[in-house]
Symmetry: C3
Subunit: 414 residues, 3 copies
């Protein structure tokens, strides 16, 4: 044992020295250089806000794990899958923007990187428990280029060396308007995830029981309620300072709307509330308000939220079984019922609001953006899914949705 | 099934179009208009702070649910009751201020709205489990006008179209001083809640066992410890910038005081610590420092916290059974022992500090404010309680404090 | 009963009046005086940031409790031990800086006080469950002077009445560079805690089973993931504004590195992941990046994180049993494997980076700082441990790591 420790630590120290020699000689990476990343005194206030939002979006990313952690025998695996998929996409997104696109490291880049990571974390909800643990890391790595493609499609790469227009804008003269990410994040996550699930086509998932306990579901309540709270940070992350209050106001109003309407629909149709529907559908307002975030006033926002909560709850109850049967795969966490359906709603409200407040051309561009995101992400998801399917080998039947496959446990003997 | 889905979705889409037609034609609500809600560059820094505090107070509101979620068989119902009562009061508070009082939508309005919502969430702790789920929404709706009345009584409606003085100020020449809400939030919540409980007069609550588990109580520890952490955001939310640090400092000092004194009292009297007393009483310092927040220095604040933690723990142990017997109703979560008793303490310390630092007249106004809040909220609570009692029908005995009445469960078969 | 209540409340009211008479007549403490603690308009933006960081570091302190709360029969005791040790050190740290050193109350002082408190909270992880509850409070009280000594050793007391150089600087002409606290916080916590554990020498801890449940470990996942998220607030708390972004960027990059490498090491060596190793080792990157935080770029930071995560996981697996046997005490939470080992790594990387980017002399000063912190804190920890050992009396065997010793429970009858 002692020998083994010494050997390993010697190797570790050699590794440190080796890697640092490399980093040091590669020039500049290891250096006091705030010329690009430093903050001038004049915009320190707005930077502060972005610091806080960066932290809060990471906070939300972790909470998404707890939103999906209701299957008693499959809790820790959800947490680890979230960490690995987030890490893979975060690293590769930054590598592409640093080395390929030539972007500057700043708060906005870090915000987009964590938004990329939270999108893949939502997406894996469609096929959680169906793939091997190491494959979540691979999904994350493959997701990042897909995210960069959609970024370019919708918004281009402003402020980078490449400095390209959005594909949409170069074709139609207008870029997409999607302040709070109904399309970029939610539709993307839903249809990429559905695409992967379709390609994997794991039929056994339909038959696997998903028993919960009081407390596994209490964790879901905690996550859902705190996600609701932190949502304004997410939708206002990239807004100019003078629009931030407006975005926060509309986000909370939409959220209040879906808290109420999801409860009414759940109770009216099923007599009792299914907490695994309600805790998701109560977030549909914030999802749907993303695109029209700063195009509407507070009372219109609450209406959007009311409709979104109702439609999302209806989708969980009526659409979900039909949809899963049709695509031949179980959308494990019902991602499509929240992010897909409410994402489409947000996209449509955005089109209506643009047509009314701006121009028909801009409305049309946004419609194309929604359709484009839908098709591109579905196809890219299926491609990634095929790769995952080819490499995942076979599951033991009793190891689906199970922490036993991946974790050492230390429960008290019965 | 297919038909039903089509029907429902068609209706939903019609509803969207219909409501939007309404909103669009009603003019202005759906519009890019930042003229009122927009933020000028000069005060963007202070707006940032209020953005963060808005989020943090919502965070606290959700944590209050987990502070009250220790009865194993009644966890999810507490979470849903918190959401519904918060939603009802939030919507109606904003509707009154927008349509009746004519206020401008800004960060301060949103802050007051969530402070209104957190107050009713604290109040329902007095009668949780005693009313039907839909009635929490009604309580929220009825609570908002009560909150507006007390607002006017204590502070008036500055900056609105109505622009009225506080009732107190118009009568006595001085307005109340209550920076951190010992009176406006804590006494209000406690006596409104007690008023409702008195009117409902549900005797069976006394006999209902409230068994906990290790983890249901661990959620309470989490909630209490994080509420303690976030409290400075709450007490400093509406302070001018130059007083914010002072408020934070005194809040944490008071909180440290009650962490220590509540532990000493619990251990000294009961030998072992009752976690459902300690996790509440350790918050008594932040409750009590509300009124005198910026009238005292840090070492006086810690003294206030020490006294508050001790008195609150003593109230849980000795006052609670006597008090509940006297009012003929069970204060389910012991709201009065934390918010009522420590609220009074804060009010009294405020009176003493004003008499010493300001004028006897201002001290007298604050005393009147405390007595006024006590009487008005108790009466309004009783009125609301009578309405709730008249409409709630009868409980099955085995359904009090029970999630079974409201939720679909999916536990593993034994 | 009634008499007892009256007696106690009378005493309490007398106590209030008495203490306030004291505070009032002692002059100034109870007064509207913002001359020292108030914030000028010009730096309100940066103050805002420190307000938020103050809150977030307190948030992290509470999360450390939940990181250590995996032993099912010993959860609430961990939470209370954290509160009491934090309270003791926080009060005494501020008392020393106010009354002895003559510091001004401001955001920086409050930040250092909570950093002192979080350091002792990490330290108690080495001997949790081995001492009486009241002794955690005593450990906190005794820890604060030790922290002040190290503060002076490394940084001096700038901005105070005493206004002394750091001991290191007065001896060698340079002060230590430790922006994110690899040495000041992590090495300090680890070796102080190890020192206490060595002095207590509680052999029975080795034999005590530490059974977990799914949900006790899910709380640990929650705490670890949120600590990871909030870490940038901690490492950038005392940085000048223009370095804050850089610190955040490097902190997250290092964290991503250890998320990946800790998983690879755990899986490669043990086939399955031990969640009580992984949830700790995934934090090793943020620990290790503390000292070199603003000396390296983002890709070097991720390398530091990868190495730190790997070494920390290796330490849990191979070093831990050997280390504990050698010191003759169980490092209960494996504090040394995370904070000790990754702290040393951070210190070494800092020395290398200073030698490369600054001067050999500055690198040498940092090396001395690391060695000094190691020796001084180990010795001070042993001194405190001897005192604790002398006063703790004897445990009943079945009461180690047990909430039964300290808490009233109300579980349902079987």
């Amino acid at each position: 044992m002692q020998m083994k420790i010494k050997a390993i630590f010697s190797l570790a120290i050699l590794a440190i020295l080796g890697v640092f020699a490399l980093v040091l000689t590669s020039g500049g990476a290891l250096a006091f250089d705030f010329s690009t990343g430093g903050t001038s005194a004049s915009d320190v206030s707005f930077e502060n806000m972005k610091f806080v939002k960066n932290v809060m979006i990471w906070f939300m990313l972790m909470l998404v794990a707890f939103l999906m952690l209701f299957i008693k025998k499959y809790e820790w695996g959800v947490a680890l899958a979230v960490l690995l998929s987030a890490a893979g996409s975060f690293i590769v997104y930054l590598a592409i923007h640093d080395f390929v696109i030539g972007d500057t490291w700043n708060q906005d880049l870090m915000l987009m990187a964590v938004i990329c990571a939270i999108t893949v974390v939502i997406a894996i909800g469609c096929f959680l428990g169906n793939i091997k643990m190491w494959q979540y890391f691979v999904v994350g790595i493959l997701f990042a280029p897909a995210f960069v493609i959609i970024e370019w499609f919708m918004f281009g790469f402003a402020g980078s060396n490449v400095s390209t227009d959005a594909l949409l804008a170069s074709l139609f003269g207008y870029g997409a308007s999607d302040a709070g990410g109904s399309m970029l994040v939610h539709m993307f996550a839903a249809y990429f995830g559905v695409g992967v699930a379709i390609a994997i086509r794991e039929k056994r998932a339909f038959d696997e029981p998903m028993y919960t306990t009081t407390h596994s579901v209490s964790f879901v309540w905690l996550a859902s309620m705190l996600l609701w709270v932190l949502w304004p940070s997410f939708v206002t992350a990239l807004l100019p300072a003078e629009q931030v209050f407006w975005g926060m106001m509309c986000c909370y109003m939409a959220g209040i709307g879906s808290i109420v309407s999801a409860w009414i629909v759940c109770t009216a149709i099923q007599k009792k509330v299914n907490p695994l529907i309600y805790t998701y559908a109560m977030l549909a307002g914030p999802v749907a308000i993303g695109t029209p975030l700063i195009m509407v006033g507070p009372w219109a926002a609450i209406v959007v939220g009311i409709i979104a909560g109702a439609i999302s709850a209806l989708s969980f109850i009526y659409l979900h079984p039909v949809f899963c049967k049709k695509i031949g795969a179980l959308d494990v966490m019902g991602v499509h019922n929240l992010h897909g359906v409410a994402g489409w709603l947000g996209a449509f409200v955005g089109v209506i609001a643009l047509a009314y407040n701006a121009t028909i051309e801009e409305a049309f561009t946004n419609l194309l953006a929604a359709v484009g995101v839908f098709i591109i992400t579905l196809v890219l998801g299926m491609l990634v899914g095929l790769l995952i399917r080819a490499t995942r080998g076979s599951f033991q039947d009793d190891k689906m949705f199970s922490d036993d496959a991946d974790f050492i446990k230390n429960d008290a003997p019965a």
